[in-house]
């Protein structure tokens, strides 16, 4: 019977309405037992407060972890700092015999971060160059053109791409992408664009900056496209209708009504992709070639900040060597945190601000 929650006087009224039947629910003593039980319980203030502080601790642990990492990096790189100072990021050495630049030669005590910073920036830049048009195009297709039935599966597939471990991307790159670049893409680039000097044929391996850029592009595609999709969905329908009502074609509607309103958020998505590309280690290490050099050609071998750490950390015995690697790690840490924070802020500003903007 549903009357179980109703107190005694109401029960009597109910039964009176129903024509004088005796109440069929539990009798008076049982209800007061329930009430007695409830009254006997404390107000749980202690448990509540304990729970509160436990949750605060969980939240603070995030800050704690970040602070601990930063502190550890700073402390461990102190030796390199005191030895090289800021010059670590700009100095270069010259080989006395060949008069060629040497940047990184741990055996002879030459440490300079230039080739790694260069490799990280170049491979990330190449990745953005390839991934951004593709990702934005994909997002436009998914939000504005795609038949409803296809939208879910396609979005799901793109996001699945983000879940694949990077070592698998690296493995795929070694067995599929590198031979492809070596056999077909690089020769074509050398033939067609060789005159620019950016594609020279002195590296027949198929490894190098460009290959690293391609694999990075594939890896950051999902994050850029899903964030672009999110900010484009946040553009109110009324903006699209406003443009359409002026006699716009579909493309003009997307350009003026959607991309224009979402552009800050798209930039945020791109920066988030950049953040991932800068820090990506495994796949890049497997295809970039791992030589600490700087070349004009995009097809030459190089290295990156993350790659040199992954490659040399286990073998570094010299204190200065270890410390120099940790200083590279610290630089990478700071840069990726700043890029990611900026990106999140931009995306946040757009997805929160959009409805109020277009009111």
């Amino acid at each position: 019977m549903p009357e179980i929650h109703i107190s005694q006087p109401q029960l009597e009224q109910k039964s009176a309405i129903h024509g004088g039947h005796p109440p069929a629910g539990p009798d008076a003593s049982e209800i007061s037992a329930v009430r007695k039980f409830l009254l006997s319980r404390g107000n749980s203030a202690v448990v509540d407060r304990g729970f509160y502080w436990l949750m605060v601790l969980c939240a603070l642990s995030i800050f704690g972890i970040v602070a601990l990492i930063a502190w550890r990096l700073v402390v461990s790189s102190e030796l390199a700092w005191s030895k090289f100072g800021l010059s670590f990021f700009y100095r270069a050495f010259t080989d006395p015999d060949t008069h060629q630049f040497i940047f990184w030669d741990p055996v002879n005590g030459h440490f300079s971060a230039i080739p790694f910073v260069f490799g990280t920036l170049l491979s990330s830049f190449l990745a953005l160059l390839m991934a951004v048009p593709l990702a934005v195009g994909l997002a436009i297709f998914l939000t504005e053109m795609c038949p409803r039935a296809l939208r879910g599966p396609l979005a799901f597939l793109t996001e699945l791409l983000a879940a694949i471990p990077s070592v698998i991307f690296g493995l795929w790159a070694v067995f599929v992408l590198v031979p492809l670049m070596r056999g077909h893409v690089n020769p074509l680039l050398i033939k067609v664009l060789g005159w620019t000097g950016l594609f020279s044929d002195d590296n027949p391996t198929g490894l190098g900056f460009l290959t690293a850029g391609v694999i990075l592009a594939i890896m950051i595609l999902p994050i850029i496209s899903s964030l672009t999709r999110e900010v484009m969905t946040a553009v109110p329908q009324s903006q699209r209708e406003a443009v359409l009502a002026l006699g716009a074609t579909r493309w003009e509607m997307i350009r003026m009504g959607v991309l224009r309103n979402a552009r800050i958020g798209i930039v945020g998505g791109i920066m988030l992709g950049l953040g991932r590309a800068l820090g990506e280690t495994m796949a890049v290490t497997m295809v970039i070639g791992n030589t600490p050099e700087i070349h004009r050609s995009l097809l030459s071998n190089g290295s990156s900040m993350a790659a040199v750490i992954a490659n040399e950390f286990t073998e570094a015995v010299d204190d200065v060597h270890v410390s120099a690697l940790i200083e590279i790690a610290l630089a990478l840490f700071v840069v990726t945190i700043i890029v990611n924070a900026l990106a999140r802020l931009l995306v946040w500003a757009v997805t929160r601000g959009a409805p109020s903007q277009a009111r």
């Binding site: 409803r148 109110p236 009324s238 903006q239 209708e241 406003a242 443009v243 359409l244 009502a245 002026l246 006699g247 716009a248 074609t249 003009e252 003026m256 009504g257 224009r260 309103n261 552009r263 903007q357 277009a358 009111r359």
Partner: protein
């Protein structure tokens, strides 16, 4: 100058929902025509059929004939061409937040590749004067964004944006329902002035508004047009019992 609109056997659907059933009417040129009726009666759908905005929804469908001037809009032209000739003002002001006031007004022309700076300046000024917004914004045309204006100013900006492309017909879907009474009065004054130059179709919940601005009024109920006549006749001596019930406030 505006042109008349001839609607013959217009039917519209949202999915399986038959929202407009056999609408026939003639909307006269250079007059304001009001469409009244309770929520969900199909009057908004009806105006959205007049510039083919209804079909931008993938589940929507339309049959019948709509002639704007001499143009059979469902057979002789693409939606894009029609929307260049038929301006529309929406219920909620929707200026482009990332554009200046000037660019908002010029957006329709720029969209169609109009670049003559001097002519653009002229058209922007004339449109803003026609929408009674010029005096309030002339000092920061290019400084302020369209979103920085008040709600009523935003709606007049949207009217200026629609007027800038010199439409033959101006559709207004409850243009004042999101505005305060003073802004509403300004919009109504504006409609009163504009109707000598444009054919205006205005959807409204507000019966006084229809009585104030329109020569002709149509009453919609459950997807059908119950009655269409001069505004005076609709409000003083309607022929249909349902119209009378509605305007005297017995339902809706």
């Amino acid at each position: 100058m505006g042109v008349g609109i001839e609607v013959i056997n217009l039917n519209a659907w949202y999915g399986t929902n038959h929202t407009l059933q056999d609408i026939n009417l003639h909307i006269p040129a250079n007059h304001a025509t009001a469409l009244i009726g309770p929520s969900g009666c199909g009057k908004s759908t009806f105006v959205r059929c007049l510039n083919r905005m209804h079909e931008t929804n993938p589940i929507a469908k339309v049959t019948g004939t709509v002639r704007i001037g001499d143009l059979d809009i469902y057979n002789d032209a693409k939606p894009v061409e029609i929307r260049r000739r038929v301006g529309m003002v929406f219920q909620r002001p929707n200026p482009f937040p990332t554009m200046s006031i000037y660019d908002n007004v010029a957006s329709g022309l720029k969209l169609n590749g109009y670049t003559n700076r001097r002519v653009l300046d002229e058209i922007v000024e004339r449109s803003l004067i026609n929408s009674a917004l010029w005096d309030e914004v002339k000092d920061d045309l290019k400084k302020k964004s369209g979103a920085s204006l008040s709600g009523g100013q935003q709606q007049r900006l949207c009217i200026a944006r629609a007027l800038a492309v010199d439409p033959e017909v101006l559709l207004m879907d409850e243009p004042a329902s999101a505005l305060d009474p003073i802004s509403t009065a300004k919009i109504e004054d504006l409609i009163f002035q504009l109707k000598s130059q444009y054919t205006i179709v205005i959807v409204t919940h507000n019966m006084q508004q229809a009585a104030r601005v329109a020569e002709k009024t149509g009453f919609f109920l459950n997807g059908r047009m119950v009655e269409f006549d001069s505004t005076h006749k609709i409000f003083t001596n309607p022929s249909d019992k349902r119209t009378e019930d509605y305007i005297t406030g017995r339902f809706g």
